[in-house]
């Protein structure tokens, strides 16, 4: 049984690495369809990353070592995050390294390094992006933790695989508290991944951008890693959402067959989630930066409502 656990672990990480750019491309394709544009190929993100790896890296003269190491650290934290989220199976050797709270800490580490790197060269855009990113972060993090708290209280554990197992294996029960937190989680996902109501991934207008502003000074392999890490982050968030709200179809240690079955199920979930994400983004307008706190405060309130519902109704 140990061998299959390690196999699941390796498979999950490799699948996340390989599928993350595809998921991003799928979201872009859906967005293009919804706005009546012709979409770029689904392989476009891979081509972009490959091209960037071949290019010469250009660094600003006053970029420090922190600027050069940050892409690797951000990428590394995202890979570890992919390893601890149960996307296909819940029996994973690495999950004892970090429970759900530590996972939030891991995502915060990536955010802090990204922001510090953005401040390193000392351009107006970089510091602007870093400031906005940290602003979104400090509002989104409590909301995300409240979401995780509700799930943890229902399952009385903070280990993400145990939560998934608990929710996936019990007889079908509807949790009104989880419905509230699912809304909150979706809002956090949009904010944390620089999606439309909070940030616009397609823009290079300085007044509207957060995430892109932080990457302006990066080029070549560093930029490739940063973009890949951003795709991985979206993928990871989607998988956290599945683990909490759509846990069905994940292998809970039943053996190789269930693991094989979980792969198309994950693909299906991702396809649906990508479509839904594109729909939300198409239907909503970009908020002014100072409306973002209100947006995230709403997310936080939804999570708190979920918590209260759980405590009052025990459901």
């Amino acid at each position: 049984m140990k061998a299959i656990e390690w196999f699941t672990q390796v498979l999950e990480v490799l699948a996340a690495l390989a599928a993350a750019p595809l998921f991003l491309a799928w979201v872009n394709q859906c967005r293009a369809w919804l706005s009546n544009r012709s979409a770029p190929s689904l392989l476009q993100p891979y081509r972009g990353i490959r091209k960037l790896f071949y290019k010469d890296a250009v660094l600003a003269t006053n970029a420090s070592a922190l600027f050069r190491i940050a892409p690797y650290i951000v990428f590394g934290t995202m890979v570890l995050a992919a390893a601890v989220i149960p996307s296909m199976g819940t029996r994973l050797p690495f999950t004892s390294a970090a429970d759900a709270i530590a996972l939030v800490g891991l995502l915060a580490t990536a955010r802090v390094f990204l922001s510090l790197a953005a401040m390193d060269v000392g351009t107006a855009f970089g510091t602007l992006g870093a400031r906005r990113e940290m602003m979104v972060g400090f509002l989104a993090e409590p909301a995300l933790l409240m979401v995780i708290f509700v799930a943890s209280l229902i399952c009385s554990t903070t280990a993400l695989p145990a939560i998934t197992e608990h929710l996936a294996t019990e007889s079908l029960a509807l949790y009104p508290s989880l419905a509230f937190t699912a809304v909150a989680f979706t809002m956090v996902l949009l904010a944390e991944n620089a999606r439309i109501p909070v940030d616009n991934p397609a823009t290079h207008l300085e007044l509207t951008m957060i995430h892109e502003a932080m990457l302006l000074e990066y080029s070549a392999r560093h930029l490739a890693l940063m973009e890949w890490a951003a795709a991985l982050k979206l993928f990871n968030y989607a998988c956290i959402g599945f683990a909490l709200f759509l846990p069905w179809g994940v292998s809970v240690g039943q053996g190789p067959l269930a693991l094989i079955a979980s792969v198309p199920i994950l693909a299906l979930k991702l396809a649906l989630a990508g479509g839904g994400l594109a729909l939300i983004e198409t239907l909503s307008a970009k908020l002014r930066v100072f409306r973002a706190p209100e947006f995230l405060a709403t997310a936080f309130l939804f999570a708190v409502l979920g918590l209260l519902v759980h405590l009052l109704l025990r459901a």
Partner: protein
């Protein structure tokens, strides 16, 4: 503080001897009062050695049973009692280990004339250390208050080292005033706790049976007194004034260690001396702590002076500590000893963590201050190139204080959140509802701490230098580096080895009558506070896997592709003409926080008009407590004093009349 030389065989004797050694070192500083080199080359390293010995002793004796002793010192018929148990040892360890780094740094720091003569600084510094140690060891109210007051006075003189500056004298006075208001409350609390026996040893207080009303009074008085020393809002106003005024090693010692002695006092009173705590007492430190945590971190985000920023961040961390203390009290009061132990462990671990990381950052800011002469972050920047040693150690401190894994700040926050998460099992519905909200506030404070640390490190060390003079900033000297790296290593080790350190701290829960819950079985690399499958965290696996992925990625990228790098001017979207003034200043970086938390601040802004030829933008951030509480209080005291001054007519006849009336009244009483 002298142990008989023949009987240096118990840890208690040794601890007293080491404190005595600190006093002797302090006195030896007076041998050459004007000689800074004597102080730096000999005295501070000797003090560091004593600190290391004390830390080692405390770490070893943590496993030993408690000991008591009566010293042949003190007033006639009032000998001093001393005692050490596991709680004392944890805080002695904190004091010893932190003072090593700070003393090493100080030996490179006090180079120039700082105002007060070096010999006096050395005396006060070592007296300060020794008195903090004796606060921890004291076992009666006399000894405790004696050490407590020595600590307050010696630190007052250290704060006012640079006494030629008026702002420093004012800050010192404010500190002394609030320290003494707090000391009066502590004294009164001891007075209540002796419970009519009129014996002021701690043993008598443990034995005293207090009525619930008096016990609550003693608890609240202690909370007020120790809260004033610790800097709980609204008694926090001295912290952001005193910390920037003091020399940096002194700020580090005060913020890192002295604030923890107040936590020690609160733990000792709440869990040990009063004894049977009611669960609802815990709600007071819990709510004050949560408020302080959020308030402190919001103000930290708005500061532009780096030492004020760190001082407000200390208020935040004291808030977190008192939150945990309150939570432990609630759990203990309802009889959930396993969770109470968990909350207590989180508090102790966070105290250790905060001591290391805040000392580290204060020392780093001291090194920056020495190199540049500038405390205002708006005139710093880009120092990672000029001061790499300081910058990289400050990065460790900043990441730790931001609560990021795998460093130490995360471990204690994680433990505290675990304790919060299982709080809904408390059999009080009302508390059940409120505690998860508390957890949310705590998380917000932690996330804002990350904001503050990005601001601190990013504005001071990254970017372009904001002033031309920064180009000749020099890095810290060898002794200063040693001090910085000692503390940074402490942060890393506390972050990576919680599974090894926490079981040792479990002895404290027995010392504080919380029962001895056996820890859950877990592999040696994994931290499992309650039960397996419930929650676990392994910082070693965490660090190893991130490091493995990072090095593997570097290796793969370099072998599959290339490692070519070109250096050129910053791209900046191709606009060109990039200057250092285009970066965010400290004010700019704090702007979202000022915007979101506007009601917290008393803010005054000076906006330029459209026709200004030399436009200036200024913003003042003030504390609402000044206007709301302190100024009215000060006015009332002054009014009262003026009213009493009416008695002082300045004419001899009036004073004779007073004597005459007094005499008549006394006679009336006697007859």
């Amino acid at each position: 503080m002298i142990a008989a030389p023949s009987a240096l065989d118990t840890p208690l004797d040794l601890a007293l001897a080491l404190l005595g050694a600190w006093v002797l070192i302090g006195l030896a500083c007076l041998l050459r009062p004007g000689d800074a080199r004597w102080l730096c080359r000999v005295m501070f390293p000797a003090g560091a050695a004593v600190g290391a010995a004390l830390a080692l002793l405390a770490a070893v004796s943590l496993q030993l049973p408690a000991q008591q002793q009566v010293l042949p010192l003190g007033l006639p018929d009032l000998p001093l009692h001393v005692r050490r148990d596991a709680l004392t040892d944890v805080f002695l360890l904190l004091l010893g280990a932190c003072s090593v780094g700070i003393s090493l740094f100080a030996s490179g720091y006090f180079r120039r004339d700082q105002g007060a003569p070096p010999g006096l600084v050395g005396l006060q510094y070592h007296l300060f250390l020794a008195s903090m140690g004796f606060v921890l060891l004291a076992d009666d109210a006399y000894g405790f208050m004696l050490a407590w007051e020595t600590m307050a006075l010696s630190s007052y003189f250290l704060v006012t080292t640079d006494h030629r500056v008026e702002a420093t004298r004012e800050a010192g006075f404010l500190y002394l005033l609030i320290a003494h208001v707090g000391a009066i409350a502590i004294l009164l609390s001891f007075g209540v706790m002796q419970g009519g026996s009129w014996r002021f040893t701690f043993d008598a207080m443990r034995a005293a049976q207090l009525s619930p009303g008096w016990a609550a009074a003693a608890f609240l008085l202690a909370l007020f007194g120790f809260g004033a020393k610790a800097g709980l809002v609204p008694l926090h106003v001295w912290l952001p004034e005193a910390h920037p005024a003091a020399p940096s090693p002194v700020s580090a010692l005060m913020s890192g260690v002295m604030l923890k002695t107040a936590l020690y006092g609160m733990l000792r009173v709440a869990f040990d001396l009063i004894g049977d705590a009611r669960w609802w007492w815990g709600l007071a430190p819990l709510s004050m702590g949560l408020f302080s945590a959020v308030y402190g971190v919001v103000f930290a985000a708005a500061q532009s002076d780096m030492k004020r920023l760190l001082a407000y961040s200390s208020i935040e961390n004291i808030g977190i500590l008192f939150t945990g203390l309150g939570l432990a009290l609630v759990f203990q009061g309802v009889g959930m000893s396993a969770l109470a132990t968990l909350a207590l462990l989180a508090v102790l671990y966070h105290a250790l963590n905060h001591a290391f990381m805040k000392s580290l950052l204060f020392l780093a800011s001291g090194a920056v201050l020495h190199a540049t002469g500038e405390r205002n972050m708006g005139r710093l920047g880009g120092l990672i190139h000029r001061m790499p040693w300081v910058a990289w150690s400050a990065l460790i401190g900043a990441l730790a204080l931001a609560g990021l894994p795998p460093l130490n700040g995360f471990v204690s926050e994680w433990l505290l959140l675990q304790a919060f998460l299982f709080a809904p099992q408390v059999p009080r519905t009302f508390v059940n509802m409120l505690l998860p909200m508390g957890a949310a506030l705590l998380v917000m404070a932690a996330a804002l701490a990350a904001y503050v640390m990005v601001k601190f490190f990013g504005v001071v060390f990254l970017g372009q230098p904001r002033a031309a003079s920064l180009r000749d900033a020099h890095d810290a000297g060898p002794m200063e580096r040693l001090g910085l790296w000692w503390l940074a290593a402490g942060c890393v080790l506390l972050g990576l080895l919680p599974a090894q350190i926490l079981p040792a701290l479990r002895r404290v829960s027995a010392a504080l009558h919380l029962g001895t819950a056996a820890p859950a079985a877990a592999p040696w690399w994994s931290l499992v506070p309650l039960a397996d499958r419930q929650a676990s965290y392994s910082p070693l696996v965490f660090l190893a896997s991130v490091a493995a992925v990072v090095s593997l990625t570097i290796l793969v990228v370099r072998t599959l592709y290339h490692r070519r790098v070109r250096r050129t001017a910053a791209w900046d979207c191709g606009f060109g003409g990039l200057t250092a003034r285009m970066q965010d200043t400290a004010e700019g970086f704090g702007q979202p926080i000022r915007h979101i938390f506007q009601p917290f601040f008393a803010m005054r802004r000076e906006l330029p008009s459209a026709f200004d030829t030399a436009p200036r933008y200024r913003v003042w951030i003030g504390d609402r407590w000044w206007r709301g509480l302190y100024l009215p209080l000060g006015g009332a005291v002054r009014g009262l004093a003026n009213a009493v001054a009416w008695l002082q007519q300045g004419r001899i006849a009036v004073y004779l009349l007073y004597s005459f009336v007094t005499l008549l009244m006394l006679l009336a009483c006697v007859l």
